[in-house]
């Protein structure tokens, strides 16, 4: 049994950590948090140069041609650093959708541009409230033209292209949905930035008005492709959440060791110790579930849907738990803008909704477990 990352993968993780510690300090994150830049362009460029943007993209499409396990270790570091770049929308959503369903020409056009940092991509799925479901897709596609409004679209205001979920029929079946590729710089779209919980990752509203689009994947296959994309992204996001959980736990632990109250380190009070111990428990469960997700993702196993849902639930809960209790350990200082605790609190709660809410994924897990039990 080898249920761990290899030494090379661990070295890659160390390298990513070193790079991000240098290039993505909390001070750098704050530039985006304070609205002084839509994302950290320098960091994005650096990530491209390091080969991190194209780590799971095959060499023939300009990537490093490594694999998803390598992407997982980088994702963990991106979460730990709270990186203010469109990594998840471009790499987990857009690139994965292209890898699953793109034609050779589409892959040739966009994947090298992603790997080199020239193109930012995203997935335009949601239309206001609601979770991923065919019925929630109202935007229509007819004769290669899209009409409708998507929001929130992650990193929509800075994206160069989007994978768009559109309705092509009204039979009530999954086959009513197709995916399209849209060059957002080509006209027919109106993009508006939206304020959101986590300003270090933008959200936008995109209005498609007679917008020309090319199909991504076969007509009517949109929902099945999306399901695969969301499962893969769930595992990759889980690693970001695990990285964030660990960092929040560390911040809380360090503060508990430094801060003196009632004449003692506050970390010597059981109320504080036990809170931190429980954070460790959540983070450990999330890490182990995520490793299983990584195994399923990297081997393209039939277990991926169930593993992805478990990782998603566990990592969402862990990051929310660690981020909120990190503030609690810090006391009043944790509630200031000046301390970094709220950046993780914001990220944790924004990430909890990004691919569909916790209850959506709980639903998915039960459905998938039942399917397995029935088989």
């Amino acid at each position: 049994m080898n249920f761990d990352f290899s030494d090379d993968q661990k070295q890659l993780r160390d390298q990513a950590r070193k790079f991000l510690t240098e290039k993505c300090s909390p001070k750098a994150v704050r530039v985006v948090l304070d609205g002084k830049a839509p994302y950290d362009k320098e960091l994005w460029k650096g990530l491209a140069e390091m080969g991190f943007l194209g780590v799971a993209i095959p060499e023939e499409f300009g990537g490093a041609g490594a694999g998803h396990l390598e992407l997982c270790v980088i994702a963990e570091e991106m979460g730990r650093a709270n990186a203010p770049v469109p990594f998840s929308s471009t790499v987990y959503l857009a690139a994965e959708a292209l890898l699953i369903a793109g034609s050779d020409a589409q892959k040739k056009k966009w994947l090298p541009a992603i790997a080199s940092g020239e193109a930012i991509g995203t997935l335009a799925l949601f239309e206001g409230k609601g979770n991923p479901a065919p019925n929630n897709v109202k935007l229509t596609a007819a004769n290669g033209v899209l009409t409708g409004v998507k929001k929130p679209v992650p990193d929509g205001a800075i994206a160069d292209f989007a994978v768009v979920a559109a309705r092509i029929g009204s039979s009530g079946r999954d086959s009513d949905i197709s995916l399209f590729l849209v060059d957002l710089k080509a006209g027919g779209v109106e993009v508006k930035s939206l304020t959101n919980l986590d300003p270090t990752r933008g959200q936008a509203e995109i209005t498609f008005k007679d917008c020309k689009a090319e199909p991504l994947g076969a007509a009517g296959e949109g929902w099945s492709i999306l399901t695969q994309v969301l499962d893969r992204a769930a595992v990759l996001c889980a690693f970001e959440q695990v990285g964030g959980s660990d960092r929040a736990l560390e911040m809380g632990r360090d503060y508990a060791l430094d801060r003196i109250a009632f004449g003692r380190q506050i970390g010597s009070f059981q109320a504080v110790k036990h809170m931190l111990a429980d954070m460790y428990v959540s983070a450990t469960l999330a890490r182990s579930n995520s490793y299983y997700g990584a195994w399923a993702l990297s081997t393209n196993a039939a277990e991926l849907p169930e593993a992805a849902a478990a990782a998603r639930i566990s990592a969402t809960q862990a990051f929310q738990h660690c981020a909120k209790n990190n503030i609690q350990v810090h006391g009043g200082m944790g509630f200031t803008w000046e301390f970094d605790c709220h950046m993780y609190y914001r990220r944790a709660n924004a990430m909890a909704l990004g691919l569909g809410s916790l209850s959506y994924w709980e639903d998915q897990l039960i459905d998938r477990m039942r399917k397995k039990n029935a088989a």
């Binding site: 396990l69 080199s116 632990r253 460790y280 809960q317 709980e362």
Partner: protein, 438 residues
């Protein structure tokens, strides 16, 4: 720095270098592990008491009970067979009755032994705690005399640590051992002793010097449970069952040759014992999740199956994710063992998570049964009362073998590096420590 720069090339080479098959995660055995597993499987298949398979498979929670046979008798027979086949206490050295197996081989054995491993319950304290302590501190004669018989199941051992006033704070124990010539004379009381009523020997920690601080005045012994002055009384537990005992000592004589470690060194000896308790890696703890999933899949509520109810699904999914988190946490540990590495601290979360989960699941299952949930009979409405039984038994899961609070302290102090609790009695002679709160 740009594409083509040194850092860039280094990163990509590093990334590309990882593409060999060996870097892939997998759940496969190595060739040696596979060979070992095949041997173990063959032996279990040829020797296990298969007539008990169904019954053992069903009783997943709590203590094992067999309808027609005494678990200790059946267990002894299985243990003896294992011993003869060289499968008992297999991580022990050969000269003391083991097989000299590696930790990963022990895990593989447990997987292959499967439900029959439940039959070894009466021997687990001996194998996991008493045996290793004798091995570490006993004389060569004692090791050769006692360990093989422990391994073969011929003699059962129990552990005599906890006392009515010394549970989590076990170093505060009161049982006295006084030196009289070449012997020690013991007076006092132990509690929560599993299996004392069928045990042949016991590992006993007692106070030999009350004039020094509590950790410094303890000494470890082992004794014949049939010694004169030893009285075992079963405890009637909160769940109505009797699985543990109180053990009373009245002028019990123990020869000095049965002392383990130096006089006054009992606390550090006991740490060896307890360390071994926490090393029980392969054994997965019950969480109640499979039972709950099955229950919800079959339970009809007013608007349909429970498993179709959004509130039920949400809770069930959270528990299922926790349970799979525990499963893959133990896989991470096993993976480290398989590579010959020292496992990380992650396995320390197991009992803390599963104990609470068991209790929560039982409570919720009964809630779903509505008014009938109060009934504890073996009827169909309450699924043979299994969750009611779980509810009543689960508090012990959160106490025995380290309370939830002690486990959180251990994680906080040993894993996260937080300060130890302030111990006001640390430097106070034992006989000056207050014994009443008010």
């Amino acid at each position: 720095m740009g594409p083509g720069s040194a850092a860039h090339r280094f990163a990509l080479r590093r990334v590309r270098g990882t593409r060999e098959e060996s870097s892939k995660m997998n759940f496969d055995d190595t060739p040696q592990e596979a060979a070992f597993r095949a041997t173990a499987r063959q032996w279990v298949d040829a020797n296990a008491p298969k007539e008990l398979h169904v019954e053992l498979s069903k009783s997943s929670l709590g203590r094992i009970r067999l309808a027609k046979q005494d678990i200790v008798e059946v267990g002894k027979a299985w243990q003896k067979k294992k011993f003869e086949g060289n499968w008992a206490c297999l991580h022990w050295p050969k000269e003391y009755g083991g097989r000299g197996a590696t930790p990963i081989e022990k895990v593989i054995w447990q997987q292959e032994e499967g439900v029959y491993g439940k039959l070894t319950q009466p021997f687990q304290i001996g194998e996991g705690m008493c045996g290793p302590t004798v091995m570490a501190f006993g004389s060569e004669d004692a090791k050769r005399r006692y360990l093989p018989k422990l391994a073969s199941g011929e003699e059962i051992w129990c552990q005599l640590f906890s006392e009515p006033s010394a549970g989590s704070d076990v170093a505060g124990l009161r049982t006295r051992a006084e030196k009289k010539g070449d012997n020690w004379v013991v007076n006092g009381q132990k509690i929560w002793t599993s299996g004392a009523h069928y045990s042949d020997y016991g590992l006993l920690i007692a106070r030999t010097d009350p004039n020094v601080p509590k950790h410094k005045g303890l000494t470890m012994f082992f004794l014949d449970m049939k010694s004169s002055g030893v009285e075992v009384r079963p405890i009637r537990q909160a769940n109505g069952m009797q699985e543990f005992n109180e053990v009373y000592f009245t002028d019990v004589v123990i020869p000095d040759s049965q002392r383990l470690g130096a006089v006054g060194e009992g606390w550090s000896v006991s740490l060896t014992t307890l360390m071994n308790e926490r090393m029980s890696i392969g054994s997965r703890l019950a969480t109640g999740v499979p039972e709950m999933f099955e229950f919800c899949s079959n339970l009809m509520l007013e608007d349909g199956l429970a498993i179709d109810d959004p509130a039920v699904r949400s809770r069930l999914a959270s528990w299922a994710a926790k349970s799979s988190g525990l499963k893959y946490t133990s896989y991470r540990t096993i993976s480290a063992l398989s590579k010959g590495e020292r496992p990380g601290p992650e396995n320390s979360i197991g009992k803390l998570v599963s104990g609470m989960m068991l209790q929560d699941i039982a409570t919720y299952a009964m809630d779903l049964q509505g008014a009938a949930g109060v009934l504890t009979g073996n009827d169909e409405e309450t699924v043979q009362g299994q969750f009611q039984q779980m509810l009543l038994s689960s508090p012990s899961m959160r106490i025995a073998g380290g309370t939830d609070e002690i486990l959180r302290n251990i994680i906080a102090e040993r894993v996260l590096g937080l300060p130890g609790d302030i111990r006001v009695d640390k430097d106070v002679p034992y006989n000056k420590i207050p014994t009443k709160g008010r």
